[in-house]
């Protein structure tokens, strides 16, 4: 009934981290099991010093950034993708896993990552979990 969702989080800009938190929260509220895999810029966004200080936005819609930032200050709940994701995690339905190959590439270990990240795993785990998911996303 509830099902499973697997998300490959490749991006590390706030305008993509926010939708990650929204989708994850919606799925967790519907009792789905959600696994988020972090790779490349998505991995860097979960470094301890980055989760709260990240101000990077996609360059594709650069002219919209000031508007989005202003609205974020006004809109309760959209101010912090990190706080929203933490709340979704509190349901017990969400696991966050870091890709071991990407950790190697950028020279970081589990200790460099925020405690919201559960573990460092290989691509085999992603393939196994994605194979049994009804919903898979690449962000």
């Amino acid at each position: 009934m509830a099902g499973k969702m697997t998300i490959m989080m490749w991006s590390g800009t706030v305008d993509k981290l926010l939708p990650l938190s929204i989708i994850t929260t919606g799925a967790a509220a519907t009792d789905m099991e959600v696994t988020i895999f972090l790779t490349f810029y998505g991995l860097l966004a979960f470094k301890k010093e980055m989760v709260k200080s990240n101000q990077k936005y996609s360059k594709d819609f650069e002219e919209l950034i000031p508007l989005v930032k202003d609205r974020q200050k006004l809109t309760n709940g959209y101010a912090s993708w990190y706080d929203m994701l933490k709340k979704a995690k509190a349901t017990g339905k969400v696991k966050i896993k870091a890709c071991s190959g990407a950790c190697d590439l950028v020279g970081i270990t589990k200790d460099d990552l925020d405690p919201i990240v559960d573990e460092v795993v290989g691509i085999g785990i992603y393939i196994a979990e994605a194979s049994e998911s009804q919903v898979t996303l690449f962000i």
Partner: protein
């Protein structure tokens, strides 16, 4: 939906929270009421009134109806399991 005459056993006031805040609040609150009891979610997010009936159906709860107020909605769900 006029004529909806319901007394909620618990009320979650999620006004001012953006989607998916009210949905998560609803999900957390419904586990705190007994089976058969009614939960009322108050939301100012226009997405919530469409989300909660679908959510309730997926989780096996009973959507009872929505009352539109000025700038917000009262949405009623009966916990079924």
């Amino acid at each position: 939906m006029s004529g909806l005459n319901l007394t909620a056993d618990k009320v979650v006031d999620a006004r001012g929270t953006s989607c998916p805040g009210p949905l998560l609040e609803t999900k957390i609150a419904i586990t705190t009421i007994p089976i058969g009891a009614v939960l009322e979610t108050i939301s100012s997010d226009p997405g919530t009134k469409a989300d909660i009936p679908v959510w309730a159906n997926k989780l096996g709860h009973e959507y009872l109806g929505t009352v539109e107020e000025n700038g917000y909605w009262r949405i009623y769900v009966r916990r079924k399991k």
